[in-house]
Amino acid sequence: MATLIETVSLTKFYKPSQIWILSDLKSVKAVDNVSFKIEEGQIYGLVGESGCGKTTVGRLILRLIEPTAGQVWFDGKNVMEFKSAEMKEYRRNAQIIFQNPFSSMNPRRTIFDSLSVGFDNYGMGSRTERKQWLEELMQRVGLEPDFLARYPHQFSGGQLQRIVVARALSLKPRFIVADEPVASLDVSIQAQILNLIRVLQEEYKFTLLFISHDLRVIRHMSDSVGVMYMGSLVEKASKDELFSRPKHPYTQALLDAAPRIELKPQVRGDLIQGEVWDKAPLDKGCVFYYRCTKRVDECMTTPQTLQEIGNDHQVACMRAV
C-alpha cells in the first residue's frame, strides 16, 4: 500500500504576543514535532483531549495554517513547496468536515448554491451535470434530491452534517480530514453519521484523517491510531495493537477514564488527577510528567521521543519501552 499523507516533524508554535516587548514570553507549542503516515485508503484516528493539538494537525496538513517547521507530503510531493496551480489541485483533493454543521454552511445560500462553489472554482461541469451529480450525492448521503433547494436552517443537525459530508465528497477528493464530525450530534444520530462515513469511504475509497476526543468512536472507525498530548504524539500503532496493548501511561489513563456502561454504579476516584494545561510543560523532559503515575526523576530531564517497540507500535515513554 502506498503512503498518501505523511507529516515530517510537523511543528506549530504560537507566540503569545506580536508586541515586541512581550515577544520573549514563551511560545505555546500547539504541535511539536509530529510525524506520521497515512496509507492510501486507510482511516487514521487522531485522539486526545481538548488543547492537545489534534485539530491544529488537521489544519496544518490542509495548509489552512502554515507550520512553524516541518513538512507535509501528499502522494510523494512536498505540499509546502506547492505553487498556486498545484495548491489549487491539492485543495480539490483534500477536503474537510468540521464539527458544527451549522457554522460550516452559509445560512443565506441554498444547499445547491453552497455545494456548487467548488465546481465554479474548478470550472467543472455544466449546470445540468452538476445538478445530476449533486442529486445523486444527496441520495448517497440519505437525503431527498429536492432538499438542494432548501436553506441550512431548514435542516436538523444530523441532516445538515450529511450535507456537509456530501459537500466534502462533491469534488471527488482523495483525502478528507473529519474533525470531530459527530461530537455535536445526538447519540442516535452519531451512529447514523459514522455508518454513513464508513459506507462512503468503502465506496469512494478516499483516505481519512479522523479526529476525535472519543476513544470509543476512534476504535470503531480507525485502522491506525495516534494519541496526542500537549502537542506531541505520544503513542501510535495499528488500532488492534493500540487497544490491546496500550503502553503510554497517558493512553492507559485515557482508556481507564473513557465512558463505559456499568451495570452497577461505580465512580473511580483513583484515576488520573490534574488537568492538561495546569502547569506549563517542561522545557526538556516528558510532556506528561506532571500527571503521570509512573514518572521517575529521569523523566523530568530526558526528552521522550517515539521509540519502536515492535509490531509497528511506537511509544514516547522510556518506562514503557
Binding site: D186, V187, A191, H220, P259
Partner: protein, 330 residues
C-alpha cells in the same frame, strides 16, 4: 427517613405557546426522588429533560407554561409557594449545576465572593464569615490553595476547576437536592471522572440527593442508582441502573444502547443505528412518539398513545409489555 419522598413530580405538563403551534415539551412526566438518592434523567436534545428541571425550580421561561401537574418537595406543592419562599428554595433546598460552568459564574466578581454570596443570602451571616465558609468549601471540593484561588476570577480557572467552584457554591447551604444538568459534558474524559467522583462524595458526605441530567448513557450508568429515559417529552422507561442497562425494555433504550461504540468486544463494521430522527416538537405523532423510528412498530402503535406500564419495580411505555404489566402508571 420518612415515607414522603424528597421530590415527587406528578403528571407534569409543560407547554410552549409559539407562533408555529404548541410545543408539548413535557407531556405527563411523573417520578420520585428519595432522600440521598442519585437519579439519572437521560435523553437526547429536545426530549424535555432540561425543561423538567426548570419546572422543578419554577423557572420555565416564557412562552412556556406549566399546564398541569404537581411538584411536591417534602410533600408540599411548590406551585403554592410564594415568590419569596421559592427564592429560599433555590440555592437553599435545591441547587443546580449547569453544563457551562464559565457561563454560570459571574466574570466580574471573584470566585470566592460568589460562593460566599450564596451562603450570606440564605443564612444571613456577615461577609467575613461567609467568605471563610466559602474558602473551606472550596478546599473540600478539591480546589488547591483555596485562600488564593478565592480571590481569583472565573477566567483564571480551568474548565474542571470552574465546575468544582460551581459545585462548591451549590453545596454551601447543604441542599436536599442538587440538579446536575449535563455537568460533565463540556469536560475532557479525564476531568469528567474527577467531577463524578466529587458529586458522589458530596452525596455520601451530605446525604444530598442528585438529579443527574445527561445525554451520555455511560456517565449516567457510573453514578446513578436509578435511571429515567425520556423521548420527545415523555418518560419512556425507568428502572434501576443494573436492570436498565442489563435488560433494556423500550425499543428506544435498546436502540440507544446498541448504537454506542464500545471499548470492549468485537468491532462490527457498522453500528446498529436508530433510523430516522426525533419528531419535531410541533408535530408529535398521535400514537407512540417513537413509532416512526421503531423496528417493532404495529398498527396499534400509530393510533393510540401507549401508557406507562408498571413491570415489577420498573416502568416502560410500550404496548409490547402489556401482558407482563402489573398495572399502569398513568
Amino acid at each position: 427517613m420518612n415515607d414522603i419522598p424528597l421530590l415527587e413530580v406528578k403528571n407534569l405538563k409543560v407547554y410552549f405557546y409559539l407562533r408555529d403551534g404548541v410545543v408539548k415539551a413535557v407531556e405527563g412526566a411523573s417520578f420520585k426522588i428519595q432522600r440521598g438518592e442519585i437519579v439519572g434523567l437521560a435523553g437526547e436534545s429536545g426530549c424535555g429533560k432540561s425543561v423538567t428541571t426548570q419546572a422543578i425550580l419554577r423557572l420555565v421561561p416564557a412562552p412556556g407554561k406549566v399546564e398541569e401537574g404537581e411538584i411536591l418537595l417534602n410533600g408540599k406543592n411548590i406551585f403554592e409557594f410564594s415568590t419569596e419562599e421559592m427564592r429560599n428554595i433555590r440555592g437553599g433546598k435545591i441547587a443546580i449545576i449547569f453544563q457551562n460552568a464559565l457561563a454560570a459564574l459571574n466574570p466580574v466578581i471573584s470566585v470566592g465572593e460568589q460562593i460566599a454570596d450564596v451562603y450570606r443570602d440564605h443564612k444571613g451571616v456577615g461577609k467575613k464569615k461567609s467568605l471563610l465558609q466559602a474558602v473551606d468549601m472550596m478546599r473540600r471540593v478539591g480546589i488547591k490553595m483555596p485562600e488564593e484561588r478565592a480571590k481569583q476570577y472565573a477566567h483564571e480557572f480551568s474548565g474542571g476547576m470552574q465546575q468544582r467552584a460551581v459545585i462548591a457554591a451549590s453545596l454551601m447551604c447543604t441542599p436536599d437536592l442538587i440538579i446536575a444538568d449535563e455537568p460533565t459534558t463540556a469536560l475532557d474524559v479525564t476531568i469528567q471522572m474527577q467531577i463524578l467522583a466529587l458529586l458522589k462524595h458530596a452525596q455520601e458526605t451530605y446525604g444530598t440527593a442528585i438529579l443527574y441530567i445527561s445525554h451520555d448513557l455511560a456517565t449516567v450508568s457510573r453514578i446513578c442508582e436509578r435511571v429515567i429515559i425520556m423521548y420527545a417529552g415523555e418518560i419512556v422507561e425507568s428502572a434501576r441502573t443494573s436492570e436498565l442497562y442489563g435488560d433494556p425494555l423500550h425499543p428506544y433504550t435498546q436502540g440507544l444502547l446498541s448504537s454506542i461504540p464500545t471499548l470492549e468486544g468485537g468491532t462490527e463494521r457498522y453500528l446498529k443505528a436508530i433510523e430516522g430522527q426525533p419528531p419535531k416538537p410541533t408535530e408529535y405523532p398521535t400514537g407512540c412518539r417513537f413509532a416512526p423510528r421503531c423496528s417493532f412498530v404495529e398498527e396499534r402503535c400509530r393510533i393510540e398513545r401507549p401508557r406507562l406500564l408498571n413491570i415489577g419495580e420498573r416502568m416502560v411505555r410500550c404496548i409490547r409489555y402489556e401482558d407482563r404489566s402489573n398495572g399502569n402508571f398513568d
